[in-house]
Symmetry: C2
Subunit: 332 residues, 2 copies
């Protein structure tokens, strides 16, 4: 199984990216990686891991930075590490692509180079978060600020198939809304409720912002605006909470002692809330596997993204998408 | 200064409501309360506080429950504690109304009985939250799932004047969005950006979900759908965090010791995140002060809502609204 990895993408590229790549190949025996980017820089990093195996380098001169506008990058940076990595997927030379680079550019290039799955008009970004006792998925988290009711249907299908593949069990689908009853929310969301309840046995109804982490539903379906607000506010609240916790621990000798006694247990527990643990954010609806890893990804995040990319490729998630999208309910 | 209090509203009415009323009158010397509701029940509670002063009771037979549909309550329960309390404001017998009852009904009845301020088409619900170092306000948090660009303008004005009155200082206004640049978000939000930057010196630009608690802006302007998602997801994340913290502390003897050493400091620190501390949620844009206290309000939340209601009445916030709304920029 070959996977393409953007060697120049992310705040800590190429060093952390290469370290993550080496670790992934150590953990998965039949994983081969094609790392795209400046050969000299990447080889220099690779030299730090003399035992590294099954990692080849595809030299590309250009790099897409965080400051490049996605549409510009798409037009002008065809010889960049990201662009070439995505082309490897299109050409069947890699089963999927992972990048921690410019996510807007990754979206635009994936869409252009890989194309959409039949029946999909707007791909969505799924983000895995740890809910009460299990992993869950929120889709869309920012690709589409304006959608039609049909997108709820497609996001639900893609999210369900993806998460089901990862968890190996049936999953429940919920609609992000501002109340429990079907008539809550905007007209668009009300239509979403109707279309989801008609088409999915797994649909359990509305899920409010405070219920997302309760595990009431595994897949949370929403538009990219509300989904982005949801995800980022969870992130911001968690950060604020940790700050308060740290400040409290640092207050005096007594609290410092308390912090010392709790620290390892707390670290372990809060790790679960860190969505970077869960293998990046899949761009769902394009004809290929394209995983967006956080710009701040360190080696562990890269490794986890590669592992998820490997697993879902192995399970043939794209074929499942195609099979289910071919059902007449999901056709235009 | 007289304020009307719905004696039957909330999960813990009338006992906690009356306790909160007594405490508020103890803390504010010239505060008089008119409590509406079933006289016998309310008087029975009042008997627990022999020294209680400046609390009169206006008997009403009916009660609006959490199960009453707002429109139904508006039509059929004109002799309810909530309805009568709001009428006291319309008739100039009370400077404002506080209720912990059915918030949908409070909104509908306030709108109908008090009417809108000139220039306001859709009142919004403001919620005060503790940001990094100071109180902030999010508006709208659920009254309007669909808005026009003009509502951003009105929400910003109302939120600014309200928070400025409470804090006694200038405040910064931010627009909830999914990125920093003016061209981010839906067309509606982009128009919101333009209209806010044209009309408010205090406008500092977009604020993302993870920045809300950073204190980058004091007033966060948004539509009722995104605002509700924002607020509830902050609530849900905080709850989940506290659960994890409790579970970690209860894990073993060592962690329990740690928890013991930290508990008072942590309780103090996390109290700040509890938005029930901050005097309820004002319905902004109606012609009168109508404060929605949480359904689960206990005496302290009721007391705080009454204090805020008193303070903003004293500062003449409704007159400020009217004065600023009369500026031609805010006319239709």
């Amino acid at each position: 199984m070959k996977i393409a990895l953007d060697g120049m993408g992310g705040d800590y590229a190429p060093s952390e990216v290469i370290r993550g790549a080496v670790e992934a190949t150590q953990e998965i025996e039949d994983l081969e990686l094609i790392v795209t980017g400046r050969e000299s820089e990447i080889k220099q990093e690779l030299m730090k891991y003399p035992g590294a195996k099954r990692i080849s380098v595809l030299h590309t001169e250009d790099v897409i930075t965080m400051y490049d506008h996605p549409a510009e990058a798409l037009r002008k940076k065809k010889n960049s590490s990201l662009y070439k990595a995505i082309e490897l997927v299109r050409d069947g030379e890699a089963a999927g692509i992972v990048s921690a680079g410019n996510s807007g550019a990754q979206m635009a290039i994936s869409l252009f180079v890989l194309g959409r799955l039949p029946g999909v008009t707007r791909p969505g970004i799924g983000v895995c978060v740890w809910m009460k006792d299990s992993l869950g998925l929120i889709i869309d988290t920012g690709a589409n600020t304006e959608i039609t009711p049909r997108e709820y249907l497609i996001f639900a299908l893609l999210g369900r198939d993806y998460l089901r593949t990862i968890l190996g069990r049936e999953v429940k689908i919920g609609l992000l809304n501002i109340g429990a009853e079907p008539e809550k929310g905007s007209k668009l969301v009300q239509k979403g409720y109707a279309i989801l309840s008609e088409n999915f046995e797994e649909f359990i109804g509305n899920v409010e912002g405070n219920e997302v982490l309760s595990g009431k539903a595994d897949v949370i379906v929403t538009d990219g605006f509300a989904g982005n607000v949801l995800l980022k506010s969870m992130e911001g609240t968690a950060e604020r909470f940790l700050e308060i916790l740290k400040d409290s621990i640092n207050k005096n000798f007594k609290t410092k002692m308390g912090g010392l006694l709790l620290s390892s247990t707390l670290k372990e527990a809060f790790k679960k809330l860190d969505y970077e643990e869960y293998g990046g954010s899949p761009l769902l609806g394009v004809n290929g596997i394209s995983i967006i890893s956080h710009g701040r990804s360190r080696h562990r995040a890269i490794k986890n993204s590669l592992k998820v990319c490997y697993n879902i490729s192995k399970e043939g998630v794209i074929d499942k998408f195609k099979e289910h999208l071919s059902d007449e309910r999901f056709r235009h």
